[in-house]
């Protein structure tokens, strides 16, 4: 292929956060770039180029399930053709109410700069699908593909426990704010 030959294009149809998008993309386009540049889902971010950091984690599956976590930098957009993708922007309820995992990260201070947070939240959603009541060790192992540089992970572990509680038993409707040390 000469340098001036465009790479082959492919037509993809991907359901992202409940909306079906139809696009023509270069075959080499990574899912994360497709999400960010074509669909405008900039909540999903790129933190590395070696699939180590997990900041780009989304859920991918067939259209009738929420799917499992994938690092969207390691998936081609064409591999998502006909699939359903859920990003951090598709987690909250239609009324804007936070998903249990989002809420738990907020309540337990499971984020600081927040750059790893979309991936961390999506990985947690998948972890809790597989294991609704994980131990500390299972959480630490389960999230070991997602790097965070701010929190030391401790409050992330706490947040996952709280999220697990909320998902098993239902979150309290009006969670009381902690206002004293």
């Amino acid at each position: 292929m000469s340098p001036n030959t465009p790479t082959p294009n492919a037509r993809v149809s991907v359901n992202v956060d409940g909306t079906t998008y139809v696009d023509t993309v270069e075959a080499r386009t990574l899912l994360v770039h497709y999400l960010r540049d074509n669909v405008g889902k900039t909540g999903t971010v790129v933190g590395c180029d070696t699939s180590n950091c997990g900041a780009c984690t989304v859920l991918m599956g067939t259209t009738d399930e929420i799917g499992h976590s994938v690092k969207s930098c390691s998936v081609l957009a064409v591999q998502a053709d006909g699939q359903s993708v859920t990003t951090v922007e598709g987690l909250a309820g239609p009324d804007g109410s936070l998903h249990a995992v989002q809420r738990a990260f907020h309540e337990m201070h499971g984020l600081q700069c927040g750059f790893c947070t979309p991936g961390m939240i999506m990985a947690t959603v998948d972890l809790l699908q597989d294991n609704p009541d994980p131990t500390d060790e299972e959480i630490r192992d389960g999230l070991s593909g997602n790097l965070c540089r701010c929190t030391g992970y401790q409050n992330i572990v706490r947040a996952v426990h709280v999220a697990a509680d909320y998902m098993r038993t239902g979150a309290p409707a009006e969670h009381e704010e902690v206002t004293t040390a």
């Binding site: 933190g47 180029d49 950091c53 600081q112 700069c113 750059f115 030391g152 040390a181």
Partner: protein
């Protein structure tokens, strides 16, 4: 208007959940790379594959024929105008300070140095076209070893400078008059050690990104930076663009840890690119770019000599440092070891001290501030030495420290460096930590394991640290030849409906200033936490500021905020008095309102005053129709957080595997605005300190190629690699500022590294081990046991 009955100080001290989170947990974020402007182009950078080479020729022409390419240029094309990147901390008068062109012109001096760029319609086209650029290099011998670099006959990083030594900076307590001479110190015991501070990479999670919109000569620049205000000043100075025609915005910024405290080649190159093409240009680096080009941290050789009497009293400390600057001087790089210079004496009453540091050029990525910046290195050295002294004298490591540290009743205490520590209570913090870890039980278990020759040995590491925060009194910075001041500014604007806008000169990137600043304002003005909006990181809304680094934001910026609030309150008091038809002196501010003394139901809030000001129908004579105020605070001294960290490790002597069994962090950061945020800062700092001790090291091969150029090789720890941290606090307020705060951002990173290594060495003492090089990987620990001749 109703007056809430909340007690004063209801917000300060509360574990308020963060305002910042709402957008961060939902993905509605404004990272620089998320921003798309009409007509925006994308830039890619061609980087040097060599650590040291002469550039014979660069031909960017072939790239221009690639699809979607708008422009391509090299250092030669901008040589006349690109200038040199700044070093704002030339620590000595005769410092060797070579030019640092953003794009290399005739020589590349480190792997990854920027050589040429392509600007294209989309990022992929720009990256694709890089391969069409032809560069001929003539490789030169790289200078990589610190000691070899300063040896006679060394190859030179900068041939025209005739030396690889940038500077030598000396502090001697005898010369300074703050202590005795180390040569005269009683030397019944002498401990001499060499410690290596390996090179680290800050590895913030968000790769750096910059967009320059050249407008019509009025530039708007978005950058993932910690220092939008400082960056704006340097854009003006380096490009000749009038400062008022430059607006710098740091939108959501994904971590920094000092790593985004820099004026970068990429920021300048993107500016030139946008200028050339007359359209907005974005550059977002890959992680691989970050590892090569964003500054690294640490990388020092420490030669140490500690003298003491046999009763454990330290009589003197000499420190000789070689500090690797990398290929050029970074923004504050030369000053990093100097920040450490004042901390080697730590919490102790050493009577004599000498410090000498040489900054050295090598063909490596530049080094500069990384969480703690000089103070982790100093703390590591002295806390390792105190353990060695304890072993030499057969004393408990806590006991030898107690015999030397400043007692609570001795504050304020002037140290051998001449710094005045305002407050602290080292006994209290240490006793609390000892209780939390169960020190005596662990020592007993350690003895049992030693006696039974258990293959898994137990070690307990101690780190009793202090740090200087609240950078910094401008006068001291000036005396240290730092180019900028250390003040911070805040403005408070009360809107007609009583809502409050706060403009701060600090620039948070994970620290939660929007939350903490709201808590402060809520208490100061008697408004609701949710009624405060904190504006930051945009030079159009906050025209001045000195940004966020060095644990300064609360200890300096927070005080400016309090002072601005108090000015607003004074204005409001005058207006409230007029409304209540009394004298301002008859009012007290309590429960969120001005109340007539003795008649508390007669009350007016700041919001009441704000609406009165808005209408301005009936203001007292001579009172302006404004409830706005600003304040700039310049601290008189540093603040000195301290703490005691204890770490228990199990070391498998057959495999070298280290397992942190228990980690206790007791920190005294003075008064706390938000304990949840403080705890989070401690966790993150400790994680980075442990990472230095056990996991991370930037490694160059013998040709100067960075081997740890991605997150595959540079092992930032994951959740599975770190222990649970048990954190607690003592609270000895700073007396040097009205909030009593000290700063917490760097504490954990300073304290943790020696705690972990001391624990490992403590476990292995019976094997004859007295040091393990960081990072203490299983292999290194295993080899340390064997080379010590231990029987493992």
């Amino acid at each position: 208007m109703t007056v809430t009955a909340d007690a004063a100080n209801a917000e300060v001290g509360a574990a308020r959940r963060r305002k910042e989170d709402a957008r961060l947990v939902t993905g509605r974020t404004r990272w620089t790379d998320n921003i798309v402007l009409p007509g925006m182009l994308h830039m890619a950078i061609l980087r040097s594959p060599h650590a040291h080479a002469r550039i014979v020729s660069v031909d960017t022409q072939p790239a221009l024929s690639r699809p979607n390419v708008i422009a391509a240029f090299s250092g030669a094309d901008v040589a006349a105008t690109q200038g040199s990147l700044p070093c704002a901390w030339p620590v000595t008068e005769d410092i060797v300070h070579p030019d640092r062109p953003p794009l290399a012109v005739d020589t590349v001096r480190h792997h990854g140095e920027a050589v040429a760029v392509v600007v294209a319609r989309d990022r992929a086209s720009a990256v694709d076209a890089l391969e069409a650029i032809e560069v001929n290099y003539e490789p030169l011998t790289p200078v990589l070893d610190l000691e070899a670099a300063v040896a006679e006959g060394a190859h030179l990083v900068h041939a025209d400078k005739g030396t690889n030594k940038s500077y030598t900076w000396i502090f001697d307590s005898a010369e300074a008059g703050s202590g005795g001479a180390v040569a005269d110190a009683d030397a019944e015991v002498v401990i001499e050690r060499r410690y290596i501070q390996q090179r680290l990479i800050p590895a913030f999670m968000e790769p750096r990104s910059v967009i320059v919109d050249p407008g019509a000569g009025d530039y708007t620049i978005w950058s993932a930076t910690q220092i939008p205000h400082i960056l704006r000043v340097f854009y003006a100075l380096l490009t000749g663009t009038p400062e008022h025609k430059i607006r710098v915005i740091a939108p959501d910024v994904g971590g920094g840890f000092g790593g985004k405290l820099q004026v970068t080649p990429e920021e300048m190159i993107t500016f030139f690119a946008a200028q050339r093409v007359g359209r907005p240009v974005k550059y977002t680096e890959t992680r691989s770019d970050t590892m090569l080009s964003a500054h690294h941290g640490r990388d020092m050789i420490q030669d140490l000599r500690l003298t003491a009497r046999r009763d454990g009293t330290v009589t003197g400390l000499s420190v000789k440092l070689l500090a690797n600057m990398g290929a050029y001087l970074g923004l504050v790089g030369p000053g990093v070891p100097i920040l450490g210079a004042f901390m080697y004496n730590a919490i102790y009453k050493f009577p004599a001290y000498r410090f000498e540091c040489s900054g050295v050029f090598t063909n490596t990525t530049i080094t500069d501030a990384y969480r703690g910046a000089g103070r982790p290195e100093a703390t590591y050295a002295i806390e390792r030495l105190m353990d060695e002294l304890a072993v030499e004298l057969n004393l408990d490591p806590i006991e030898v420290r107690r015999r030397n540290w400043i007692k609570a009743e001795e504050f304020p205490f002037t140290t051998v460096c001449g710094l005045v520590y305002d407050s602290g209570d080292y006994d209290k913090a240490t006793d609390k930590a000892l209780g939390l870890i169960g020190y005596d039980e662990l020592r007993a278990e350690q003895q049992r394991r030693r006696t039974s020759e258990d293959p898994v040995q137990l070690g307990i590491g101690v780190s009793t640290y202090t740090e200087m925060c609240g950078l910094a009194p401008s006068r001291i910075l000036g005396a240290l030849r730092y180019a900028a001041g250390g003040w911070e500014t805040a403005a408070v604007r009360v809107l007609p409906t009583g809502k409050v806008e706060v403009v701060t000169g600090t620039s948070p990137h994970g620290q939660g200033h929007e939350t903490a600043w709201s808590q402060i304002v809520a208490d100061e003005l008697g408004v609701g936490f949710d009624d405060v909006e904190v504006l930051h990181g945009d030079t159009r809304s906050s025209h001045k500021g000195l940004d966020t680094y060095g644990s300064r934001s609360l200890a300096v910026g927070g005080i400016a905020l309090v002072e601005a609030c108090r000015k607003v309150r004074d204005k409001a008091r005058t207006i409230a008095a007029h409304m209540l038809e009394c004298s301002p002196d008859d009012l007290e501010f309590t429960g969120g309102a001005f109340r007539v003394k003795g008649t508390p139901e007669a009350a007016k809030t700041v919001a009441d005053a704000a609406f009165a000001v808005f209408a301005a129908h009936d203001l007292p004579d001579g009172v302006e129709a404004s409830l706005d105020a600003d304040a700039t605070f310049d601290p008189q001294t540093f603040s000195f957080p301290h703490g005691s960290h204890l770490c228990a490790v199990e070391v498998d002597t057959q495999t070298g595997k280290v397992n942190i069994r228990k980690y206790i962090a007791v920190d005294d950061v003075g008064k706390v605005i938000n304990p949840m945020i403080v705890e989070g800062q401690v966790h993150g700092g400790v994680a980075q300190g442990i990472a230095q001790a056990l996991y991370e090291e930037a490694i160059f091969d013998e040709g100067g190629t960075l081997l740890t150029g991605s997150l595959v090789e540079y092992t930032v720890p994951s959740s599975a690699d770190l222990p649970e941290i048990i954190s607690d606090r003592t609270e000895t307020p700073a007396t040097s500022n009205p909030l009593g705060v000290k700063g917490v951002g760097e504490a954990g990173a300073i304290a943790a590294t020696p705690a972990v290594i001391n624990a490992i060495v403590d476990a292995l003492r019976p094997y004859g081990v007295d040091d393990v090089q960081m990072p203490a990987t299983s292999e290194r620990v295993w080899r340390a046991i064997r080379s010590a001749g231990g029987n493992a």
